[in-house]
């Protein structure tokens, strides 16, 4: 199972990386880079490095890529190729939406207690010993309540309200940048 997931993610990472450097349109190239980042994040999860995985998504796939995309859009590069229109693209968008919706409902019913029990039974993730020959490192990676747990408790319980306001702040800054800097609004 784990091996299958690993090969799936690996293939997706390589394919996305290839597409990233072969696309003509800079926007789609950047979006394929996002896809590569996500696949890498998945591989980090398999390695029990959830902390790195989350920051891979937050920082690389999130912040850095949004910055890339904004610069590309503001500079109006790559007008000639627009490959996100047309019937196939809509069908693809609908399929992705259905998958994401299904995931949302799965997560909705997925309680922390369930996650903890799965972690202890070792059903969901790979055996760290397979990846870390050194026993001490493996034990560290398999510890259920690591720095990540402490961080997420802080971020999503004590500081939930400031965390959400920060996202609104970023949204305001993004809208403002577009309104003031785009040539044609």
């Amino acid at each position: 199972m784990t091996a299958a997931v690993f090969y799936l993610l690996g293939a997706s990472a390589i394919a996305s990386a290839l597409l990233c450097i072969t696309r003509k349109n800079p926007v789609s190239s950047a979006l394929w880079l996002v896809s590569t980042m996500f696949a890498l994040a998945g591989i980090y999860v398999l390695l029990h490095a959830q902390f790195i995985a989350v920051f891979q998504v937050l920082v690389y796939a999130g912040a850095v890529m949004v910055l890339f995309l904004f610069v590309i859009m503001l500079l109006n590069l790559g007008r000639e190729a627009s490959d996100v229109r047309g019937k196939p693209a809509w069908a693809l968008a609908a399929a992705v939406m259905v998958i994401l919706g299904a995931q949302f409902f799965a997560v909705w019913h997925y309680t922390p207690a369930q996650m903890a029990s799965e972690q202890h039974s070792g059903a969901a993730v790979a055996d760290p010993l397979a990846f870390f020959p050194n026993n001490a490192l493996a034990a560290e990676a398999a510890r259920p309540d690591d720095a990540f747990g402490a961080l997420s408790a802080s971020l999503f319980q004590n500081y939930l309200v400031p965390f959400e306001i920060t996202s609104v702040l970023l949204l305001v800054a993004a809208i403002g940048a577009v309104v003031l800097a785009k040539r044609r609004i």
Binding site: F156, Q157, N158, Y159, L160, V161, P162, I165, T166, V168, L169, L171, V172, A173, I175, G176, V178, V179, L180, I185
Partner: protein, 500 residues
């Protein structure tokens, strides 16, 4: 009575219902305008949707106010009390009026990007967070959401050099002020180990405040001084008020100032109530400088927009006087005065937007000459506003100034009160010529028509009506203001030991 646990996601959402609803409305507007983006029709649609969002948020606020919620333990991140509800109500009034006044204005000035309304809504949520925060982190984030949105709104007229100049000035000064504020918060955290305002108050305790905390408090006061445009941190205000689109000038003069003053009140009263001897002289100095300088410089202004900018500096001084008292009476006076000032200023800028063209930089006393004969109702409304700003009996402005004076007298400290009265007398020197020009001077050929849309007329009728009704019959608002402010009892008792 119902207790809610603000540390849980559900409790926090319930407590933040008006803010959450308004943010949701802003997102809906953003979504709609992504494919309805070009014509005047689309802009108007965004305006109506935003107005609907403000209405829903007001409903959420009314629910919270009547539900009588109590936080479990210390209010975590956001206050759940009537002082916050009253502040949010004032901010929602300012937002709704700004949107209504903008409907005609953006079409006339060709500012047709509907993001305008989205930014107004997001700025309003920032103000609400700032006014209701019980944690300095939330204060700072609310301040930034509000400021970033307003920087953009000030520069929204991209064809105008003055608008761009104003936006850049406001942005640079605002970033500067934010840095002061943030450093102040960091030092206060260093001194107390917490950013929760109530806990800061508890930990600073009765004894001497540590040097670190005192430094932090000073930087905090500088940061807020910039935001509410108090002398000597006022240099940006005239140019920025002058260059911004007029409804946005009104929004800045009312919403931004109200949120800043209310946040400052809460921080000083709840967080630093034991250090009152430390901040009272500073606040008094800021208040006196603002009242004197604002009123004197306003005397020499020709442009009405610049005159109102200096008058708003003077009003920041009056508000700081109310904060100076440190009593819950003073907090009530602050709320009431903000209400009076917000209503009056919104109506004034609404009328100003109707009288001018191209940013209203050129509306002077000569432009409005003879308005009394041609547009008697408009002239009457502007006269009522000027008298209310002056604090003339029969208007809400008078009730506001009177409650501030009562709060000062209650502290047995006459000097500030005398300065307040004297500077108010000086302000007659620039408010009354507006009325004289409208009624006693002949109209010139270039006089503006002063056409107003139905929405604009509605705003002015309602605000001026409220000014006069509450001016003659202040009981209800006075009661709400004093009751709302009673929760800030961390401040000194009504008669404190100032006279030693």
């Amino acid at each position: 009575m119902q207790t809610i646990d603000l540390a849980t996601a559900g409790g926090a959402t319930l407590a933040l219902l008006p803010e959450v609803v308004l943010t949701g409305a802003a997102l809906v507007v953003l979504l709609v305008l992504s494919w309805r983006h070009t014509t005047a029709e689309d802009s108007r649609l965004a305006g109506y949707l935003s107005l609907g969002g403000v209405g829903l948020s007001a409903v959420a606020l009314a629910y919270l106010w009547t539900a009588d919620l109590q936080p479990l333990g210390l209010a975590h991140m956001i206050a759940v009390d009537t002082f916050r509800y009253a502040a949010v109500a004032i901010i929602l009034i300012a937002t709704a009026a700004t949107i209504l006044l903008s409907l005609q204005y953006v079409e006339r000035e060709r500012l047709l990007a509907p993001e305008y309304y989205c930014l107004i809504l997001l700025a309003a949520t920032g103000m609400m967070y700032l006014a209701g925060a019980t944690d300095l982190i939330v204060s700072f984030l609310g301040l930034e959401v509000m400021s970033v949105a307003v920087y953009v709104l000030v520069g929204f007229n991209r064809g105008s050099v003055f608008s761009a100049e104003a936006a850049l000035k406001y942005f640079l000064i605002g970033a500067f002020a934010s840095a002061f504020l943030l450093y102040g918060i960091a030092l206060i955290y260093g001194a107390t180990g917490t950013t929760n305002i109530m806990e800061i108050g508890a930990r600073l305790g009765q004894g001497n405040i540590p040097v670190l905390g005192a430094l932090g408090l000073g930087l905090l006061l500088i940061g807020f001084g910039f935001k509410v445009a108090a002398v000597p941190f006022h240099m940006w205000a005239p140019d920025v008020y002058d260059g911004a689109p007029t409804p946005i000038t009104g929004f800045m003069a009312t919403g931004v100032k109200a949120a800043g003053v209310i946040a400052l009140t809460r921080i000083l009263f709840d967080g630093f109530s034991h250090s009152i001897d430390l901040w009272q002289p500073v606040v008094a100095a800021l208040a006196i400088a603002s009242m004197v300088l604002g009123n004197l410089v306003a005397l020499s202004q020709r442009s009405l927009k610049r005159m109102l900018a200096y008058s708003s500096i003077a009003h920041a001084g009056y508000l700081l006087t109310a904060i100076w008292t440190g009593s819950s009476l003073g907090a009530g006076a602050t709320l009431l005065y903000i209400l009076a000032y917000v209503l009056t200023t919104l109506a004034t800028f609404g009328i100003l937007a109707a009288l001018g063209r191209g940013g209203e930089r050129d509306v002077t006393l000569d432009t409005i000459a003879g308005l009394g004969a041609r547009r008697p109702w408009l002239a009457f409304a502007l006269s009522a506003c000027m008298l209310s700003l002056l604090g003339f009996p029969g208007t809400l402005g008078f009730i506001g100034k009177w409650t501030i004076l009562m709060a000062i007298v209650n502290q047995a400290h006459a000097a500030l009160g005398i300065i307040l009265v004297l500077t108010s007398l000086v302000s007659a020197g620039y408010y009354l010529p507006v009325i004289m020009s409208m009624y006693m001077k002949p109209a010139s050929a270039t006089s503006p028509e002063g056409k107003m849309s139905g929405a604009g007329i509605a705003v002015i009728v309602v605000t001026v009506g409220l000014l006069l009704v509450f001016g003659f019959w202040p009981g209800p608002v006075l009661g709400i203001a004093t009751n709302s402010a009673r929760v800030l009892s961390g401040a000194v008792p009504s008669v404190n030991a100032l006279v030693r």
